[in-house]
Amino acid sequence: MHLSRQQLARFSRAQRRSLQRFLPVSLLVGVALLHHWLVIKDGLTQWKGGGFGMFSTVDSGGTRAISVFAKCGEWNFRVSIPADLRGRRSLAKRLPSEEIVQLMLKDLSRRVWVVERYHAVPRRQTQLGPLDSLYLSHDDLVSAGRGAGRIEEWRPDSTAVPSYVIPVRFEAEVYRLEYDISARTIRRTLHSSYSRPGERLEIMAELAGLPLSQLARNLAPCCKP
């Protein structure tokens, strides 16, 4: 079927007119439908994402929490998220999809960690120093990392406090808030959890030109007292 030049011009004019009439609202509806899908699929908070579900639920970005733990041998550390990852944490709280949380964990898993605070029961006050590159005996190992993160000691009954940590696994837990109006009670509940192996040892082995097994043996246990 051939269209004449006039017909083509008329057709494109009509298209332009409908685009002009319906583009803003089409975008609004399209984004809102995507928001709906992400709320169902990935647990996006109703408050954000252009779906206009604000002021409809107590489950907002402000009432969600994400806790990250670093596992290392029999140690289990609570990780305080470094400042440069706060934006990613904020996103992960509001949209805790596998991809977004894993992206944050990947970044964490490539860092060298130092113990920031030692929680001795009942006092929670011992502050430990920052990362000391001497422990690693290879400047590149440190400079290749994307800055040292900080870790809070998690097990209150431990006596030996490690100085630096190369975690073998990272775990993230996303919590939501629930409100029971009849009992006037708020409660934090676990929504989802994710985990990822630590990658720091592999990076160090590659930089030091050593086989992973040898490095792992040299550095064992991964928490160096």
Partner: protein, 290 residues
């Protein structure tokens, strides 16, 4: 003397009636972008620069490409942050786009305003209706007891003491951070019934706004009622939940979709736009002296 004042007032109202909604909407939107625009420096700096230029040189604010540039800036800044940014900042992008597309037609601007308001409220009403925690009044009850934006209302109308609100917020922080597994919130005897009636009113108002704005082209009753339902929603919502940026955007869009014969509605929306600043006054401190 009285006659002179009345005459001046009548003249002012007549002038207000004769203003082109595109000019007024454009100017008010520029003010909105400057005062309640995106809170990120990379977005704010170019937005404020352009908005200031538009306010200084009024013909500029009537150019589609000017609004196209503002739309582009907003979109580039908002899209990567869409999952953390407030919904009305996203709505501002659509509104800037609507302005850029309809600077040559007053009717087209009204058409965009009606559709944006209608669909926005349709989704808002949908989420409230399908969320059990909203329908049973839990959400507004919780919000009244903990949200800082509801402080004035909670103290003056619900009669909740400032100390109680502080305790609730502290309990909320401890629960969210995991220091405690659960906590009990304190309230007043009015808070429960008040939250329930507010829930019902919000849901009904939002459904009515969506229906009247989306059907106003075909149903006369919807066309006649739409301004009343939107104006009463703004009147009662924003003194309680003081999200003035969203309130301003709604009144601008409300103003922009008024017809030639709807001069009174236009004045109501302009009045609401101005009055909304009063909602920011810390009334609880003035009234209760605390």
């Amino acid at each position: 003397m009285l006659q002179a004042v009345t005459r001046r007032l009548e003249r002012a109202i007549h002038e207000l009636h004769s203003l082109d909604p595109r000019d007024v909407s454009a100017r008010l939107t520029l003010l909105l972008l400057v005062l309640y625009g995106p809170g990120y420096w990379d977005l704010s700096v170019p937005t404020v620069m352009l908005a200031a230029a538009g306010m200084t040189i009024p013909p500029l604010a009537r150019q589609p490409y000017f609004w196209g540039a503002l739309t582009l800036i907003q979109a580039v800044g908002v899209i990567p942050r869409v999952y953390v940014i407030d919904n009305h900042k996203v709505l501002m992008v659509y509104w800037c786009l609507a302005l850029s597309l309809s600077m040559k037609s007053r009717a087209l601007l009204a058409h965009h305003s009606r559709l944006l308001i209608g669909w926005c409220f349709l989704f808002a009403a949908y989420w409230k209706a399908v969320t059990p925690g909203f329908v049973d009044g839990s959400f507004l009850h919780f919000t009244m007891l903990t949200d800082t934006r509801f402080t004035g209302f909670a103290q003056i109308v619900a009669g909740i003491d400032a100390g109680v609100l502080d305790e609730n917020r502290s309990a909320l922080r401890s629960t969210v951070s995991g220091d405690v597994a659960s906590a009990r919130l304190l309230d007043s005897r009015f808070a429960g019934p008040l939250a329930l009636s507010m829930t019902l009113w919000t849901l009904v108002s939002e459904v009515l706004i969506a229906v009247t704005f989306l059907l106003s082209k075909w149903i006369r009753l919807a066309r006649n009622l739409r301004h009343v339902v939107l104006a009463q929603f703004v009147c009662f919502t924003y003194p309680v939940a003081t999200v003035v940026g969203f309130g301003w955007l709604l009144t601008i869009m409300g103003y922009a979709q008024t017809g030639r014969m709807e001069g009174r509605s236009r004045i109501v929306f302009l009045g609401l736009f101005l009055a909304m600043q009063l909602f920011l006054v810390p009334w609880e401190r003035l009234v209760l002296g605390k």
